[in-house]
Each structure stands twice: as C-alpha cells, then as structure tokens.
C-alpha cells in the first residue's frame, strides 16, 4: 500500500500562481473523473481552498499511485499551467509523511491563520466530492476519517481554535460581550464608512444587534451606507444626540482630526443617564479623543488595543502547538499501525484458510472412521478443532500486529509464508 501527495500552499506558491491553480467544485469533480479514467484502481482526493491545492493519492500493491512527477503533470494539465512552472513550488510526500501532513492540515496547524476552523469543513467537502466521483476508496477513506478525528481531538483537547484573531471578532466577542449581556435591545451607532465597519457589524448582528444607525459627514453617503449595512441613516449634525442614545459605537472615518473630541462627548454624556458605552474606534488616526476612555462607564478600544489583544491571542495559539502536534503524532502512529496491519490481511487470510482446510480434512477423515458419532458429538469436536486452531494462531497474529506498529512487517510476513508454505 502506498500513499502519495503533491500540493502547494500559501507558503510555497505565489498568489498569482495559486489563483490559476485553484479548482472550483466543478473543476475538481472533472479532474477527479479524469484521474479515475487515467489511473484506474487508484484512489485520489483533491483539496482545493484559497490557500492550498493538494492531491492525495493512494493505491494497493497491485495499483500503486502514480509517481509524484506524474501527479504534478496531472495537476498542471488540469489547470492549463506549464508543469515546469508548477514543479518547483509543489511539495511531494509519501506514506507516513502524507498522513502526518493531512492530519496537520485538517487540524488547522498548516493554515495561514493557525487553528482556523473552516479547514475541517473544506477537508470534509473534498472527501465527499471524491466519494461522489468514486475516486475515494478504503485507503483514502480511512485516512480522511482519521484526519477528521484528529482535528476533533485537537479542537477539544487544546485551546488552539478558542481565541479569536481578527480585530472585529475580538472587538465583539472579547470586549463588547464582556460589557453587554444581549445586543437586541442596544443601539449601535456606526460613524464613517471604513471597511472594518461592515465586518464588525456582521459579528454584532450575529450577536443579536438590530437597531443600527449610520452617520456620515455626507448625507447621501450615510443613506447608501445605511442601506448597505442594514441600518437606518442618521444626521451627522445630530452626532451628540446619537452618541447620547447609543450603547455601542463603531467608528471608522478617514478624518485626520478626532471626530468626537472630549468636549463633544461631555455634551453627549449628560444625556446618557449613566448607561455604559462601548466604543470601538477602528479608525486611523483615531476618531475618539483617548481621554474619553477614562470617563466612568465608557469602554473605549482603539485599533491598537484590539490589535494587541489579537496578537496576545495569536501567541496563546502558538503555545498550544506542542500539544496539538503531539496529538497529530499519536494519531499518525495509530493510523500507520492500522495501515501496516491491514497489509498483512491477505497473509493472515491464507494462513487461516490453510488451517481450516487441514482441520476440515482431518475432521472428515475422523467422522468417516467413527460413524457412530451423533450430530451433537460432531459439533463439539468441530468446535474443539476451531478453538485449537484459533489458539495456535493467536501468538503469531499478535506478533504480526505488534510488529505492524513500527512499520510494514515484511520479515515476519516472509517467514510466515515460508514456514507455512503460503502461496500468493
């Protein structure tokens, strides 16, 4: 049994080439069918995401997967790229390294954003597509199932995917949610049209925010923005009143001076009646005077504050790496042990068949010589023979299983074949 892999990721393949190499779902299905026709009897799974394109091939001894160079050429041909361009940037692996790589990929250890969870569903989709195109088989099936199990273990036994890494998600989940229990009764005020406002609002809407007001210096722009962000437009001239009514502010203007200086906020503060206010100042330069953050009941976070929190989370994820790698190692060893043991199945089958055949022949001879035996006695004797055969085979099979853990047990298999005269 052999496993082969070729693939490129964001680390090795430049973006321009990655864009050309990427497969849509239809293109991937077409490529898998082409592979099936060209290399019959081999299994293949194609994983294509925005950051990686990887081909996992597998085959039994009678139909080993094509050599790595052929896999590279196949990928190049499918995407209409010169193989000479692709060859230097694609990685090649075989056997255990393929398994380890897939397990790391599925667990998010090889992702651009360490521990990102989307890769698990992408791995699932890739395997499902291979099943639909009938290019998946027992080898890739076992390997992908084990990969998903590994990803689940890494997610539950380490904190790798727990902390958020994007500024909008940290702003909402780690800070705004620390202040407010619910968002469906809160007023969200968006000031400006910065690109991060949209993403932050997506998280706020997921958290339940419904009442969204958008203000902009230009009224037309505010209308358009409000329509785009799913809120209602407010007047920039009413900023003080809007600040007084808001519970959470997302500010992303491109202004060179603070849009909300301390004195303006002081006017708004009198109308707030002590309600807490969360300000996510995502603008550079800042829209809110930093002194406002010192006011009681105001929780002001600038882009630098949120960036520092993201960085702390990133470091925290890095600290989880040794634990995650240990799980990947353990699962790889277990899978390879099972795989090696599977390769002994034909020999074990022949060995068992030989013992059964000999036993049956001896039983027939015995029953012919002692015809007085009734059915119950015959069944007892047959069971005794079977138990004897199972006990005699137990030790060699256990040795074979133990040997499989450290690699294919070629020596033992050869010895068994010769000792028991097992024919291919």
């Amino acid at each position: 049994m052999t496993l082969a892999f070729v693939g490129g990721t964001h680390r090795t393949v430049p973006l321009a080439l990655r864009e050309r190499l990427a497969f849509s779902a239809e293109q991937a299905a077409e490529a898998l069918c082409r592979f099936r026709d060209r290399f019959p009897g081999r299994e293949v799974v194609l994983l294509s995401t925005c950051n990686r394109v990887e081909l996992y091939a597998a085959g039994e001894e009678a139909a080993v997967p094509p050599p790595a160079e052929q896999l590279v050429s196949f990928l190049a041909e499918c995407r209409g790229i010169d193989a000479a361009v692709l060859a230097p940037v694609l990685a090649r692996e075989s056997d255990e390294a393929v398994v380890r790589h897939l397990f790391s990929v599925a667990s998010g250890l090889d992702s651009m954003v360490l521990g990102e969870p989307q890769i698990v569903s992408q791995v699932k989709q890739a395997w499902a597509l291979a099943q639909r195109t009938e290019t998946a088989g027992p080898l890739t099936g076992g390997m992908f199932q084990a990969a998903l199990r590994t990803a689940k273990r890494v997610a539950s036994e380490t904190a790798l995917g727990r902390e958020r890494l994007s500024i909008p998600s940290v702003a909402v989940a780690d800070f705004a949610r620390g202040v407010f229990e619910r968002f469906d009764d809160k007023r969200v005020l968006v000031i400006g049209a910065g690109k991060m406002a949209h993403e932050t609002l997506r998280y706020l809407r997921e958290a339940g925010a419904r009442d969204i007001v958008v203000v902009n210096r230009t009224a037309d722009r505010a209308d358009r923005l409000a329509a785009r962000l799913g809120g209602r437009p407010g007047r920039f001239a009413d900023l003080v009143a809007e600040l007084a009514a808001a519970d959470l502010v997302v500010s992303t203007t491109g202004a060179s001076e603070p849009v909300v200086p301390a004195d303006l906020f002081a006017r708004a503060e009198t109308g707030r009646e002590g309600r807490p206010l969360v300000v996510l100042d995502l603008a550079v330069p800042r829209d809110f005077d930093p002194a406002i953050g010192a006011r009681p009941g105001v929780w002001l976070y600038s882009i630098d504050d949120l960036g520092a929190a993201c960085e702390a989370n990133r470091r925290s994820r890095q600290r989880e790496m040794p634990g995650a790698l240990a799980i990947v190692d353990e699962e790889t060893r277990r899978f390879m042990g099972d795989l090696h043991h599977r390769s002994t199945a034909p020999v074990i089958e022949r060995l068992r068949a030989g013992w059964t055949e000999t036993g049956d022949a001896e039983l027939d001879r015995l029953f012919r010589r002692v015809p007085s035996l009734d059915d119950a006695a015959r069944a007892e004797i047959r069971q005794a023979f079977e138990r004897y055969a199972a006990k005699m085979l137990h030790s060699p099979l256990a040795s074979l299983r133990n040997e499989s853990r450290s690699g294919p047990p070629h020596g033992l298999l050869d010895a068994l074949k010769r000792l028991f005269d097992l024919k291919e």
């Binding site: 539950s156 036994e157 380490t158 904190a159 727990r162 902390e163 940290v170 780690d174 800070f175 949610r177 620390g178 202040v179 407010f180 229990e181 619910r182 503060e269 707030r272 009646e273 002590g274 309600r275 807490p276 006011r295 009681p296 009941g297 105001v298 929780w299 976070y301 504050d305 520092a308 929190a309 702390a312 989370n313 925290s316």
Partner: protein
C-alpha cells in the same frame, strides 16, 4: 436506604463541594476533557447529599424543622449551592463556582461552629418564628449572592479597563448581567432583612406580652447587630438606586455589595462568638442573665 441517608454527614457534601472548587480553580491552569464531567459530578453529588442531609434532619426533628442555627447556615449554603449548580449547567463556560463555592463552604463551616439545638418555640409564636427565620435566611443568601456578583463585576471591569482578552478558563458573565444581579440582590437583601428584623421584633413583643418564652432585651448584641445590618443594607440599597443614573453606579454598587457581605460576616461572627439571649432556651437564658449583667 434509610441507613444510607442517615449516614450522610456534613463532611460528605463539604468534601464534594471542595473537590468541585478544586476543579474550578484548576481551569486556568490546564485544559482537560474530563474535568467538566468531574466538576458536574461532584457538584451534583454534593448538592444531593446536602439535600438528603437537610431532609433527614427536617423529618427527624421533633420541633419545627430546621430551626437551629446549624440548620439555618446549612439552608443558606444549600440555596447558594443550588444556584451554583443551576449556573454550572446553564452556562458551563463561566466560572462562577470559583466565587460562589467558597461562600457555600464558609457557611458550612459556620454551621459546624453553631449550635444544633433548636431555637426555643411556643405554638403561639411558631408562625412568627418561621417568618423571622425565613426572611433572615433570604437576606443572607441575597447578600452573599450580591457580593459574589459584585466581586465578579470588579474583576471583569478591571479586565476590560486593561483591555485584556479573557484569561483561559476564567470567563465571567457580562457587566450588564452582573450589575443587574448586584442591584436586585441589594434590594432583596434590604427588604428581607428589614422584614426579618420587624418580624423578630413582633416575635419578641408577643413573647413578652404573653409571657410565653424568655424575651430578648432590646440591647442584646443580636438585636443591635441585626439592627445595624438592616440599617446598612437599606442605606446601601437606597444609595445604589440613587446613583442608578450615574455612570459610576455599577462600580459603587459592586463595592457596596462587598461591604454588605463584610458587615454580614462580621455580624455572623459576632453572633457565633458573642454572648446573647437570642435563640437560647429559657433555662439557659436565666443562667445567662446571672452571668451577664
């Protein structure tokens, strides 16, 4: 089964709560898939043993059930432990147990130091006795719950002020929820403590009027400390509400809730360690009168 229930002791559920507390305390230190199950298991086992222990005592006491200082502390601990268990199941990621379980264990400890003898009762004043005890129990639980919420508010606010993401294994409820809990607890504590104090006065007056039992003098330490506690709790509740429309209201309420807990603890310690005629059977009260001028 009866033998099993009668064999349950304070140590059984106190030890279970202690293991649950150790599990809670270990959350920030390391991750474990098993800890959640162990935590829920021990917290549930402790609460079940606690419930059976109180039920056994209630069923086998000749007087009004659970009418000793010992039972009173255990009932307060039981209510808080029940609240903890509910929070643990409803919101397993928040670490309320680290703050609530020490209070539960403290109350169990106070029970161990208290008398198991029931408070003196007369059939004519039994109802007033039950009302008096129930209100005081509710007030103590509200003060303890409010203090736990107030402490968590201060920790959560410190984290948010320092702009730090939540530490691993130390997730706390939102400031909004904690502030609402602190505010509600302050009011419940104030009104139930006042009702408990007034019902105590009525009970004392009825006893005095009918000459039923030994009455507690107005200058008894328990009357004084309860009076002070009630005055403090009402003042704290009014201050909390008076500041409600100011931005610093939640912080002040959190500190006041902690101060109320300190006042309550001091009051309990005064009660446990001091000399009083409150809740003392008539014969002992007469003896005390000779000793205490």
């Amino acid at each position: 089964m009866t033998e099993f229930i009668s064999g349950i002791s304070v140590v059984c559920f106190a030890a279970s709560y202690l293991v649950a507390l150790a599990c809670e305390a270990s959350r920030p230190l390391f991750r474990s898939g098993l800890r959640g199950a162990v935590l829920v298991g021990f917290a549930t086992a402790g609460f079940l043993a606690h419930t059976l222990f109180l039920a056994w005592r209630a069923a086998h006491e000749p007087n009004v059930p659970l009418s000793s200082a010992f039972d009173w502390y255990l009932l307060a601990a039981w209510l808080l432990a029940g609240g903890y268990l509910w929070l643990l199941v409803a919101n397993p990621r928040t670490q309320v147990g680290l703050f609530l379980l020490p209070v539960v264990l403290g109350l169990v400890g106070a029970a161990q130091l208290s008398s198991r003898a029931p408070f003196p009762q007369s059939p004519a004043t039994q109802v007033w006795g039950v009302i008096h005890g129930s209100f005081n129990l509710a007030a103590s639980v509200a003060v303890a719950g409010g203090a736990v919420a107030g402490l968590m508010w201060l920790i959560q606010a410190t984290r948010l002020t320092r702009k730090r993401t939540p530490a691993q294994g130390l997730r706390l409820p939102s400031l909004e929820l904690l502030a609402a809990t602190t505010d509600r607890a302050a009011w419940i504590a104030a009104w139930t403590a006042a009702a408990g104090f007034v019902s105590g006065l009525v009970l004392n007056a009825v006893n005095r009027q009918r000459g039923l039992l030994e009455t507690v003098p107005w200058n008894d330490p328990v009357v004084l400390r309860m009076g002070m506690l009630v005055a403090w709790l009402i003042a704290a509740a009014i201050a909390t509400r008076a500041l409600a429309r100011r931005p610093e209201a939640a912080r002040v309420a959190a500190w006041l809730s902690l101060a109320s807990f300190v006042v309550l603890t001091a009051s309990i310690l005064w009660g446990v360690l001091g000399t009083t005629r409150h809740g003392v059977p008539p014969t002992q009260a007469s003896a005390l009168r000779e000793v205490v001028p």
